[in-house]
């Protein structure tokens, strides 16, 4: 069969549809079930309420903003993981899912590692663009000496005199 006109993807898709057509409806997807999806939905609602809790008066860490932010990010990551694993079905997919998820996770981790020291740790001292080390060890600009001013003045007057070398 030298038929290369139909590409592999389409043939595979037809094969999958055929396979599904043979399976009785009850066994179509052994993984996802209504109960699981509803449970995930309830979990997402609970998590959303928890992150909204930080806005209300019941939140005990109102004064520690880093705790609040860490909590909100943890809640967001959990919600995203639930959607990815269950709604996007990745929990039950084959090993190709690692090709997607590992580079994306590396990128998020790298983003965090880049931004936290560069921006996050430079907030409290009020001088956002100098790290503590730089502030401690940077050289002072030397004060302009009187002799420097005389030298500058001399240079200026010399430039205005007509040159006599020609």
């Amino acid at each position: 069969m030298t038929e290369h006109g139909h590409n592999l993807g389409e043939r595979l898709e037809e094969r999958v549809v055929d396979m599904l057509a043979d399976i009785p409806p009850e066994h179509v997807d052994v993984h996802g079930s209504l109960g699981k999806y509803l449970l995930v939905f309830v979990a997402l609602c609970v998590l959303t309420t928890m992150s909204f809790l930080t806005y209300t008066d019941f939140w005990p860490f109102k004064d520690e903003k880093h705790v609040t932010w860490a909590f909100m990010m943890a809640v967001s990551c959990t919600k995203a993981m639930l959607v990815i694993m269950f709604f996007m079905h990745l929990l039950w997919e084959a090993n190709w899912k690692w090709v997607l998820t590992i580079p994306a996770s590396c990128m998020s981790l790298f983003l965090l590692l880049m931004l936290v020291p560069d921006i996050g740790m430079r907030q409290d001292n009020g001088w956002a663009w100098y790290s503590r080390q730089r502030w401690l060890y940077t050289a002072d600009k030397p004060a302009v000496q009187a002799s420097d001013i005389e030298a500058l003045d001399k240079k200026e007057t010399q430039q205005h005199e007509p040159s006599s070398t020609l």
């Binding site: 599904l20 996802g32 209504l34 999806y37 509803l38």
Partner: protein, 343 residues
Amino acid sequence: MSDHSHQPLKLAYQPALPVPNGKTCVWLFLSTEIMFFSALIGTYIVLRFGAVAWPKPHDVHLSEPIGAFNTFVLICSSVSIVLGLEAAKRNRAAEAKGWILVTFLLGCVFLGVKLFIEYPAKFAHGLYPQSPHSLVYDKADIQYAAAVRKRLLALRAEIEPKNPRTPEDEQKLAVIDEVSRDYLEPAETEIRNNPDSPQGLILLLKLAYAIYPPQYGHEGALESAIANGFETTPIQLVSFLEETGTAESDEHDAGDGHAHGYNDRNPWLRLPIMVPGGSLWASTYFLLTGFHAIHVFVGLIVFALMLTMTLGRNKAALIENVGLYWHFVDIVWIFLFPLLYLF
């Protein structure tokens, strides 16, 4: 030695991934979208946490309950499209179409809340992403006072030549005169006469607070003063804020928990407002939520097209792929909501 009797070689390609092409392509597209939104969110993080000052939600009319409601709406729409997929896999076309319709309607609710409730709330107070629509200034300085003067002159030029004037016109002129006489002119005079005195800066800040007061009581006023170069709230302004009811914001506001200034009491006035960090906030907020809203809108177009099809078993792959896109849009909002509303 070649053997001419055998058949041509039968080559069998091995699939690289045990996944249909459509699904692979959607995942590849989603990874590019991850990069896209990571860039925008990373920019927001850098700008926000590197900024000297950043407005709090009430300063810019950002409502957390509405954001939470929108989050809930998108989560429900994710559930409904998963249920639509399950129905399509079982070849129940009518049920699948019903779930897709539910998803479509929930997406419309999300966009409706954003476009008809949230964005107009910002626009009504002059918070746009860009000049000249945007009325936002970051500091109460001379340029700010000049912008206020320019706007008052434009309003006068509009109303004064009218003959005859209605009572509303007279009232408007009275307000313009009041702002000019009580706040703008003292500030400009003081700055002109004593350019280096702090009194001029205090009067400029008073002008800004009269037009658009800081929310959140004493702490909000303190942060606003610090962003304008003061070390504490100037004492004259503490009493001024208490008089106009903005410090405690309970008795004198119009009942919605917001301290009101000239711009709130007179929506036609639209004077420039001073919101520390407001300009950057507007840029990043509208950029992030705008791009997200565009993605939601594209999803809605696809749902509308799907509603014209019979969604049987042979369309399950299509629903799965569209569902992957829609779940991604939901995940982006799951991250945007705390970053923009709760941080």
